[in-house]
């Protein structure tokens, strides 16, 4: 039972890493639905790099690096070229899906390295994810950088006349989001599930993406949602253990998405909006061009 909870928390920390990056990204107005592709890249290239060099550190750095590059690519399409961000993000996903299958297939199998250490059975990455949640919340809500990011995501033209450089802020955010997703992927491939296989990420990028909407762009709610989604995922691996005869694992895997849809319905309801005002970053997904 304890192992079950620890596994849940480990899943949660990976959702949190990827989700936090995407959250910052979306607060700046850029939607990156290609999270799955970036995580696949981070997991696969991190896995290969670590295996070749026998260094975890290099594995993680490669994961973060490829994430940054893919974030930059998505940024180029959505900020500089101003194309539809969903289309660009889908492109990143399909690219990641195809390329990692091609690159990774010769590495199918276990990593073959000593496992990373834990603290009292829990991965130190979990504690890192909690620290990052607090840090991101603080930066977004208490510092000038956070104010700039949120403003660019709400009303870029206002930010522009206030003397901010909208494109630069958005680029930094989309690169940060990519780095976090690449790192999340590397943690998955090097720690959580260090056995490379075709599409071994199994949609975790999409769960992380859903998590951002579920969190209503609040880092603390994101952490809570990540733990919840982590538990649900573990249940889905072996539903017979908890709820014998109650729905198949595939139904359980849908639950995070179903819950996200419920949250989206809630926050777009009249009642919610009249009570809380706007919650969605106003300019989310909209390209910005100078006047």
């Amino acid at each position: 039972m304890l192992a079950f909870f620890i596994r849940s928390l480990e899943a949660a920390m990976i959702f949190t890493f990827a989700g936090l990056g995407e959250l910052v990204d979306q607060r700046s107005g850029i939607l990156n639905v290609g999270l799955e592709g970036i995580m696949l890249f981070g997991a696969t290239l991190g896995f290969i790099a670590a295996q070749e060099t026998e260094s975890y550190l290099i594995g993680f750095l490669v994961g973060i690096g490829i994430g940054a590059l893919l974030g930059l690519l998505h940024g180029f399409f959505s900020i500089t070229l101003g194309v539809d961000q969903v289309v660009s993000g889908m492109g990143v996903w399909i690219f990641g899906f195809g390329m990692t299958t091609y690159i990774g297939s010769s590495h199918t199998g276990p990593l073959g390295m000593e496992r990373l250490p834990t603290w009292f059975g829990i991965s130190p990455f979990f504690f890192l994810s909690v620290v990052l949640v607090v840090l991101v919340w603080f930066v977004l809500n208490r510092t000038g950088w956070g104010l700039n990011i949120r403003s660019v995501g709400e009303q870029p033209s206002v930010a522009e006349v206030s003397g901010l450089k909208v494109a630069r802020i958005r680029y930094l955010c989309v690169i940060f989001g990519g780095m976090m997703a690449g790192f999340a992927g590397a943690v998955y491939g090097l720690y959580y599930n260090p056995v490379w296989n075709y599409n071994f990420l199994m949609g975790w990028g999409f769960i992380s993406l859903a998590l951002v909407f579920f969190s209503m762009w609040n880092p603390y709610l994101l952490l809570g949602g990540a733990v919840l989604f982590g538990l649900l995922w573990q249940v889905s691996l072996n539903p017979q253990m908890f709820f014998p005869g109650l729905a198949s694992r595939y139904i359980w895997r849908m639950v995070p998405f179903a819950m996200t849809i419920l949250v989206l319905i809630l926050i777009s309801s009249k009642w919610f909006r009249s009570r809380w005002g706007a919650t969605t970053p106003e300019a989310l997904g909209k390209p910005y061009h100078k006047e």
Binding site: Q155, L164, K270
Partner: protein, 529 residues
């Protein structure tokens, strides 16, 4: 040049504004020229000077080059030719950031504020104090101090979307001053304010000029305001400075003539007209706004044939919801609307058109027209259901084209022809097409939502005349306007709105501007004279 300034950074800004004398030239523009792709000369060698402690109004119609000049002064656009000098020092603004650093602040007509943020967050955005961890407490104290100095009230913790237009403007002014603005550019500063708020703003501006600040309001049509506050006026027409004169020598008539380039009739002829049968009877109508809040509360009135009902009020007091609910664009929460004796509270919009209602929306580009469609197609949007132009589902394009040509002719629309995309038209001409396609149906009721908002003097006069013509042929007209002068000049009855309610229905003949102004500002008391 740019490099040097960058190194010196903010210190330069501090130095340049030291030891300033009243009357000294603080900002000078020489030969500003801007040509847009396609060859339009928006600014043609514009020169002007602003002195410390002076209010220098820049007057011009839409398309006179006002916006371009303003954008150049604030670094949003770069001029093709010409120089700008701040206290004699040549400067080049490559972005608003550069302009702000040199002490230029701008208050935009369409508020540049983030609605979801607090007042404080909006003020801090882009401010040097917002680097790193924000010391909100100190910043709040500083902002409140600045606001008080100029007689503004400000609540730093309120969310901007909850503020009125006047309060938002105060936030913008305080934001500019807190950034250290010494020259304040105001774009149409009073267009969205109540008379009471306007008065308060003018007082605050007076205080600002005592601190050797230059204030530059850019104004399209509120001529009395120019006369009331400014020391000097520069008039622009077609991208050129046509005149510059001390305000003391100007009259409304002179300013309007120079601005338009021809004599303007100021007093519209509103011939006496006997009202006929009731056309629209509204009882206890209520509706919610987009946020789900009750924005129209228990409104009742009657409009008769040949009568204009003027709905006065500051934006956001329920007029917009009223217009949309009357036309069926917004569901009524409660109450009843009767049109020619029939209950139409929940009638579909198409039925309303067929029954003889007409609506000209305030959002001319979003709701009033489809930019990528031609004039003919846009006219067809009010005629596609009409048996004269719709034969068994097939549109009579020949007939529609002819109709559009008639509208172009009758409404004096400046366009290369009926087949160009409607987005190529200027604001005034677009509104003429929209008015034309509605009025040409000879509706029994016209709901005109902000029909002259943002139009220049000539187009305003035209639109107003057309509404009076509709009245003369016995149509009922509901005129929604934020311009009290317009309401007073056109209406037979006036309904001032405040917070979703009609304060009191007044016959226009007996209505005084001060009383209506107090009503829409929410400071009217029944028993006061």
């Amino acid at each position: 040049m740019f490099k040097a300034r960058k190194q010196e950074g903010i210190e330069l800004h501090g130095d340049i504004w030291k030891h300033i004398q009243p009357g000294e030239v603080v900002l000078e523009a020489r030969g500003i020229t801007k040509r847009y792709p396609g060859g339009v000369l928006a600014n043609d060698h514009i020169d002007f000077k602003i002195r410390a402690g002076e209010i220098h109004a820049i007057l011009g119609e839409n398309g006179a080059g006002k916006t371009t000049l303003m954008s150049i002064l604030f670094g949003l656009l770069q001029p093709d030719e010409g120089e700008i000098y701040v206290r004699g020092l040549p400067v080049r603004f490559r972005s608003p950031e550069d302009a702000i650093k040199m002490g230029i602040g701008m208050v935009h007509q369409h508020r540049k504020l983030v609605p979801a943020h607090t007042v404080m967050e909006n003020i801090l955005l882009g401010h040097p104090r917002s680097r790193g961890v924000i010391d909100v407490k100190t910043a709040e104290e500083e902002v409140v101090a600045i606001a008080e100095r100029y007689g503004f009230k400000i609540d730093p913790r309120a969310r901007v979307w909850q503020l009125t237009e006047g309060e938002k403007q105060v936030v913008e002014i305080v934001k500019a001053l807190y950034r250290g603005a010494k020259i304040l550019i105001l774009d149409e500063p009073t267009s969205a304010l109540t008379p009471v708020e306007t008065e308060r703003l003018l007082e605050s501006i007076e205080t600002m000029t005592q601190d050797a600040l230059g204030v530059v309001p850019f104004i399209t049509h509120k001529l009395p305001m120019v006369l009331a506050i400014s020391d000097e006026v520069t008039i622009l027409r077609r991208g050129r400075v046509v005149d510059r004169l001390p305000t003391a020598e100007a009259t409304e008539q002179i300013l309007a003539e120079r601005m338009v380039g021809r004599p303007v009739i100021f007093t519209l002829q509103k011939p006496p007209h006997e009202p006929g049968q009731p056309v629209l009877q509204v009882e206890g109508l209520s509706a919610r706004n987009n946020k789900g809040v009750l924005a129209l509360k228990n409104v009742s009135f009657t409009v008769r044939e040949g009568e204009i009902l003027g709905i006065a009020g500051v934006a956001g007091n329920g007029q917009h919801e009223l217009a949309e609910t009357l036309f069926g664009l917004r569901p009524a929460e409660s109450g009843r609307v009767q049109f020619l004796g029939q209950d139409v509270t929940h009638a579909p919009i198409l039925d309303r058109w067929k029954m003889g209602m007409g609506y000209t929306p305030a959002e001319r580009t979003e709701v009033g027209s489809i930019g990528d469609f031609s004039l003919v197609e846009n006219v067809a949007m009010n005629y596609y259901f009409d048996e004269r132009y719709n034969r068994a589902g097939f549109l009579d394009y020949g007939g529609l084209r002819q109709l559009t040509e008639q509208i172009i002719e009758e409404f004096d629309v400046a366009t290369p022809g009926p087949d160009v995309k409607i987005q190529t038209l200027s604001g005034g001409n677009l509104q003429k097409v929209i008015m034309g396609r509605v009025l040409s149906r000879e509706p029994k009721l016209v709901i005109a939502n902000l029909p002259a908002q943002g139009l220049d003097v000539g187009a305003t006069e035209f639109v107003q005349r057309k509404l009076l013509e509709a009245r003369a042929r016995d149509a009922a007209v509901i005129l929604i306007s934020e311009d009290l002068d317009e309401i007073l000049a056109l209406s037979d009855w006036i309904a001032p709105m405040y917070e979703g309610e009609i304060v009191k229905l007044l016959p226009a003949a007996a209505a005084k501007k001060e009383v209506v102004g107090a009503m829409i500002a929410g400071v009217y008391k029944e028993n006061e004279p």
